[in-house]
């Protein structure tokens, strides 16, 4: 379905029809003092050729380093077919067309995406996506406040082992709506959130407990115990999960005796390239009993008057265009194109393919840990099982080591020392299926060389 904006003559004809002299006349009722005089700081427009030149130059500065950073965005192999199909005209629109009578293909795709995500998370219903994983957590916390009608406190327990960026974004988005995010420390030996750390909150009015699996350190949490503790204390459970890992790990819908209540996360690992930080997409799924509190678009399957199957937006009374200020969220769109990529990625890999990707990531990461911890001055921070990331502790400041590695064409990981000062010189590393044994040896060799030298501040 093409979305072609109106031409100059269309605009003139429309203005003539309603008797307006020009477009500005349509905005006359907005007082002059409320109008923005232009956009300060925005440079003049460039031609396509100039933009191409500029962006290629900026991209070239990134180089093509060997990457060992995860920390929320993961470098996976994306089969060529994924983006060849996504960029077909039928999908490649500037806007997600929701008109059921004209958009059955797109709506069917979104419906199939929802079905796959519900199956992957073990939940009843998925929405058609959100902006990204971090804002997805904020939305999930707001949703938990609406869904947990027995709780009045709006207090959400958020482990320190949850991705710090996600915690920041949730605080910025939801903090102004009087949600109180209360930290839960991690066990310094295992890098896990232990139930004993939740116990000080037992018997209090807690609205929800957030659990990230695997957590920011890559460590696997005891999600069953945390889920059961939360439910026993009248709190809902918000699961933040890595979709790739769900091919191997127990899905949130099966955590503990009753399962998590909301599952969310970043969908980037499913067919979306790193692309200098975005765009990515967020996903969210829940149990049937909470569906009316879920934000975002939901596509449903129905039948037309002839009994033939068809697809349409459903449960729209949750949304802003109907409920106005009382809508579940001001989100009334989704990341259609990236969801298209994820749906094609999941279709091409299938459940077994995704499980193979996940298992290979785990193997590579173990290989990486073995290789790097043989280097003098490097040790593993936590002794609990993990997925595809791990925290290494160095005998010197991480920044200087990373700079020296970068000079050797290696992006050695994410420095988490500033966010977690109690750990000391802490480096978060990741190896996905895209890192070969040769890549890992190259990293270990370079690290050994750097660590033989004197410590450098940065």
């Amino acid at each position: 379905m093409p979305f072609i904006p109106h031409t100059e003559s269309d605009i003139r004809a429309m203005l003539a029809t309603i008797g307006a002299p020009d477009i500005d006349a349509l905005f006359e009722e907005i007082p002059a003092e409320l109008r923005a005089p232009g956009l300060p700081g925005v440079p003049p427009a460039l031609s396509e050729m100039e933009v191409g030149r500029l962006m290629s130059g900026l991209a070239a500065r990134d180089g093509r380093p060997l990457n060992f950073i995860g920390a929320g965005a993961y470098e996976h192999h994306v089969p060529s077919a994924v983006w060849a199909i996504v960029t077909r005209g039928e999908f490649y629109s500037a806007y997600t067309p929701y008109q059921a009578e004209a958009s059955q293909g797109t709506l069917q795709l979104l419906y199939e995406y929802q079905t796959m995500m519900a199956s992957l998370t073990g939940m009843d219903i998925s929405n058609a996506s959100l902006y990204d994983g971090a804002s997805g957590l904020a939305e999930a916390c707001l949703m938990a406040v609406r869904a947990n009608r027995r709780s009045k406190s709006q207090r959400i327990l958020v482990p320190a082992a949850v991705n710090p960026t996600y915690r920041d974004v949730a605080r910025v988005i939801a903090g102004n709506q009087n949600l109180a995010f209360e930290p839960v420390p991690f066990d310094p030996k295992g890098g896990q959130t232990v139930v004993a750390a939740l116990e000080p909150f037992a018997g209090q009015d807690i609205t929800a407990v957030v659990v990230q699996q695997p957590n920011f350190f890559g460590t696997l949490e005891d999600v069953d115990a945390i889920t059961d503790w939360a439910h026993a204390n009248g709190a809902l459970v918000v699961a933040v999960v890595n979709p790739t890992s769900l091919a191997l790990l127990k899905p949130p819908g099966e955590w503990g005796a009753r399962g998590a209540d909301v599952a969310c996360g970043d969908g980037q690992p499913l067919g979306v390239p790193l692309s200098s930080g975005g765009p990515y997409f967020g996903f969210m799924a829940t149990k049937s009993e909470h569906v009316r509190q879920m934000p975002g678009r939901i596509i449903g399957r129905t039948v037309d008057i002839d009994g033939k199957p068809g697809f349409a937006l459903t449960l729209q009374a949750r949304e802003q265009h109907i409920r106005r200020g009382k809508a579940t969220s001001n989100i009334c769109t989704n990341q259609g194109l990236l969801v298209t990529a994820a749906t094609i990625y999941l279709s091409l890999l299938g459940p077994d393919g995704l499980a193979q990707v996940a298992a290979t990531c785990m193997q590579r990461t173990q290989q990486l840990i073995d290789a790097l911890t043989r280097v003098p001055g490097v040790r593993l921070a936590f002794d609990k099982p993990r997925f595809h990331e791990a925290v290494l502790l160095l005998d010197r400041p991480v920044a200087g080591v990373l700079a020296a590695l970068a000079a050797r064409g290696i992006v050695g990981g994410h420095d988490i020392s500033a966010r977690y000062p109690s750990l000391g010189h802490a480096l978060l590393v990741c190896a996905t299926e895209t890192r070969t044994t040769g890549d890992i040896e190259q990293y270990a060799g370079a690290l050994a060389e750097v660590m033989r030298g004197p410590a450098v501040a940065a």
Binding site: R149, R150, R292, A317, R318, I322, R323, K326
Partner: protein, 131 residues
């Protein structure tokens, strides 16, 4: 023309209330309101035990085209919610003043009930709304 029983009290926002013999108040939405909303698909009822203030939103009725908050006409404690609406929201369309009741409140001050519109005043309000 919608049905406005003479023995009930009303709000302009289309809630009705009935004073029961035990002094509690049963609350629902009027026949006019259910007609305006169309086929109801979901009703969210309040948790018994909850305190409500007069004018506070405490239930939601949702049709295929709209969702509306239901306001408590009185201050008090919710003592019961109509559990049948969970599976059969259409009870409100079929019998808004009977099987389609939404909640029951033990009110703090009976004067609040007396201050609601009587049937005649509500009919006048409906007439004013349509003209």
């Amino acid at each position: 023309m919608s049905n406005v029983p003479a023995d009930l009290r009303y709000l302009k926002s289309h809630e009705w209330a009935r004073l029961e013999s035990d002094g509690t108040v049963t609350i629902g939405i009027s026949d006019h309101a259910q007609q305006a909303l169309g086929d109801l698909v979901f009703v969210e009822t309040p948790e018994p035990g909850r305190r409500v203030e007069a004018g506070e939103a405490c239930a939601v009725v949702e049709s295929v085209k709209a969702a509306s908050d239901i306001y408590s006409p009185v201050t008090g404690e919710i003592i019961a919610s109509n559990a049948d609406l969970g599976g059969q929201p259409e009870l409100i369309n079929g019998d808004p003043y009977g099987a389609g009741w939404i909640m029951r409140v033990r009110l703090d001050d009976k004067a609040q009930f007396a201050a609601m519109l009587d049937a005649k005043a509500y009919e006048a309000a409906l007439a004013a709304e349509t003209h």
